[in-house]
Symmetry: C2
Subunit: 509 residues, 2 copies
């Protein structure tokens, strides 16, 4: 059967965060694929596979101003949030509130796949709240996704600052209604949500006492980290498994270009890679492969994911075995197809692959990447297994203009949230942030990888990938993951203890 | 001669900050006068009296986005800033940058009347920069004040958050151009500018290492301080000088109302108070008096101001002497006129007084008060010398709607910047802010009056008034003022030392 690769996944691991559509050509069809956190079409609708929610919560809506920072006469919108207070010890005991900073997707996905927060709640007597990010899921301005995503004007208020203000206004109102003003709030977030958590801790220190920012590449802007960082880490994960696998992938780019130039070359490539429709150019194929390798590095988890679209544990190892173990004489491109099938077709039930046929479809993250979230990415032929690509801001800007009629502000995020000389600023003036990262995750290179101070700490796992720590505990968790979560719990407990010490007169202790 | 009371003042003391028009009925003609920091018509144009600037600087313009927090297709505007690097030791020595957070007026006023910053520059080898607040002076969106102030839509981006972002973007760009990224920025500000300085330190800890927030009533929102605070402090200043003066003023409100109800009562009052035009109601007169008393309390400085519109030193003492020293048998209202003439006509060259004849004129602060800066103010008959008035949010909201077609967001400032439980939040998570206040200043009651932590400190002067410490030193400065400034210098030096210690490897020291 032909599976359209936009079917979202739900797996034991973080792979829920990705949909296969993400592995398609992204919004810049035939341009360089741009790394992203989440799958493209995963952003607006809940996966059909997710028939049952894993955790108990109530769904509510809150009326938010569309623009917190101006007083233009704009409509409000209904922000969805999920809430559970079963374990909350309440205001009299200053019961904590755990707030997950919803990121670029349906908040139910995040709730169901952030088991760590749910598992912590009873231990801490905490309330749990998952507010949805504006312009995603059911939190659409202008009444619907179609209206919200209509053009640059309707999209204009899809920014991180507005999302943080949404969280701040919501939690302030909620606490007031519960007479829980004095209850401490702890923030959680993964990936872009982790960036939001860290930024919220910096911007709203009066609202949240600390943040666990998992796999949050807050330094992946401007020239703070080298633009090759992401693809170098992806490449290292493959090289680490097998040098010949790495080399085969490295050779493949030229192969497929020269194949594409032949008579009927595109038809031949369409056959080799089992696409349902004929390839229009080799760029689409390159992007399809690049995104697979990149996502594989992100979800290179130590245990298998066994849902309807399963991936094995250590999927890169598996990919490389497929590539390396082909019989002698197998062509480079045939090997590549064998390898990439682990990602696109592990269950062997896909007959042909579909490239995303709607590169102009709705996608909030593309908008965010074209406005604030400008993360320059290049690949080096010397240090990576990818073909050489230099990020060119002028072209990037032009494509954003073409796509959205918007001009990016590439320096805004670091101006607003810091980044340059992050260490000095945060060491002296920030506190209570955990930056947790797995070094297999290509996004880890843009995060904070060493302790900034006693209270801004980096928790690194060598074998971890994209925000694995936020997942529910499983019997298969390796020791290093169990330890990482235990350290996180200890740090959060420390923040709470400090807060209680400050709040309560000593005579009460 | 008839002086229209909108003529701005320029005096030795802070009185430059006020224009007499502020003493008129404010934008809500015949409604309760609302305390404000600055005079109404002082906000858009530079006083004609200010023919010569006191300090040397270069005037430049910087292109700013109108909305930093959305990507709507809006025009940019030219933000004016004043800059002087004569004393700057430059990037190689990490020379500090002193930034005054421009508030609701022409930035040249603030530059010329914030001598403290200019006097510090050579001592610290600092660059000095005075950026103007958007929608004031020459920093007008849409090309002109008329266009910028046309309606609620054009005014909608006049907010504190946007102003802070302007400062952040400007200083980041400036530092980059000078290769001065590592040079520490210290913020200064008085009144609303002091609030901006404190908030900027909280919101942009990566941009500024500390803030001197002089007379900044950051807690004058919602119910954080009692709404009677402002008028109680005004009243106490009068009571402190003379109980009989206090009592005469207290009696006068009923007197003038009953006088106004008589046949030809308004005409009589017009004569008693020497107005050029006939009073239309007694509310206008009450507002005219209330605002005079309030401004007198704000500028109740220890030394005289001898400019074209001079005030004596300790002006409240003078007012009360006039009220008390009238011959026996002088009526209450005649006494009041004698007293208030110290404020409105110290030089005795005014023949008749003019109430503001354009209550609907341009005024950015009125817009700010009707949107974010909602500071509830009541007066109590028991504790103050004013007639009883209870702040009514519903009426306030209605008047703002009538005036601007805008709905205030009274809880936004505390959500965005903190305020409730300020101490716990800042003690744990903020640093390097000086809240300086003179207790004679009625705004002091809404500021931070005790140390929050080792690095967030309150500097109180019992006899100080509205941000006197930011003024240039004079030979008449009392010891307590000299000491206050010395402490401020020591604290700022401490912030810089900490920063340098952090930046420089120990081997360099």
């Amino acid at each position: 059967m032909a599976i359209k690769p936009i079917t979202p996944l739900l797996t034991l691991s973080l792979i829920f965060l990705l949909s296969l559509s993400a592995a398609s050509a992204s919004f810049r069809s035939s341009s360089k694929w741009v790394p992203r956190f989440l799958g493209k079409s995963s952003l607006l609708t809940k996966p059909q596979s997710m028939t049952q929610q894993q955790y108990q919560y109530e769904t509510r809506y809150f009326d938010q101003p569309l623009d917190h920072f101006s007083f233009a006469d704009l409509p409000t919108f209904h922000q969805r949030y999920l809430i559970n207070d079963d374990h909350w010890v309440g205001p009299s005991q200053l019961g904590p509130i755990f707030l997950y900073c919803g990121n670029e997707g349906d908040i139910e996905w995040f709730a169901d796949n952030t088991g760590f927060v749910w598992e912590l709640a009873p231990r801490f007597g905490a309330m749990v709240i998952f507010p949805e990010h504006r312009y995603y899921g059911k939190s659409m301005p202008y009444g619907s996704g179609d209206e919200a995503y209509k053009n640059a004007t309707t999209l204009s208020h899809l920014t991180a600052e507005q999302a943080l203000a949404d969280f701040a206004v919501l939690i302030t109102d909620l606490k007031k209604n519960l007479s829980a003003e004095a209850c401490p709030v702890v923030l959680f977030g993964g990936s872009y949500g982790g960036m939001l958590a860290a930024w919220m801790r910096l911007k709203y220190p009066h609202i949240a006492i600390g943040a666990l920012a998992s796999s949050a590449p807050v330094l992946q802007f401007e020239d703070i980290v080298p633009p090759e960082t992401f693809y170098d880490i992806v490449s290292n994960s493959f090289r680490h498994e097998s040098t010949s696998c790495f080399n085969t992938i490295k050779e493949s780019w030229d192969e497929l270009v020269s194949e594409g130039l032949k008579n009927d070359g595109l038809l031949q490539l369409t056959k080799t890679f089992h696409f349902c429709q004929k390839l229009e150019n080799t760029d689409d194929l390159s992007n399809w492969l690049e995104s697979a390798y990149s996502y594989l590095a992100m979800v290179n988890y130590p245990y298998p994911a066994n849902f309807m679209m399963p991936l094995p544990g250590n999927p890169i190892k598996e990919v490389c075995q497929k590539i390396d173990d082909c019989p002698d004489g197998t062509s480079v491109l045939d090997r590549i197809f064998e390898g990439v099938s682990v990602y696109y077709n592990y269950t062997s039930d896909v007959d042909c692959f579909q490239l995303d046929d709607d590169p102009h479809g709705l996608d909030g993250w593309d908008w965010q990447a074209c406005t604030e979230m400008v993360m320059p990415m290049s690949s080096s032929r010397d240090t990576s297994m990818f073909s050489a690509y230099d990020f060119n801001y002028t072209s990037f800007q032009e494509e954003c203009w073409k796509e959205f009629r918007v001009k990016p502000r590439p320096k805004w995020i670091t101006t607003e949230f810091g980044g340059h000389d992050f260490k000095t600023a945060l060491k002296m003036f920030g506190s209570n942030i955990i930056f947790s990262n797995g070094l297999l995750d290509p996004w880890s290179g843009g995060s904070v990888l060493e302790d900034v101070s006693e209270t801004i700490v980096a928790l690194i796992t060598e074998k971890g990938a994209h925000h694995l720590d936020l997942r529910a505990a499983t019997a298969e968790d390796p020791d290093w993951l169990v330890e990482q979560r235990a350290t996180e719990i200890k740090l959060i407990q420390g923040w709470l203890n400090d807060y209680y010490l400050e709040k309560k007169p000593f005579s009460d202790m």
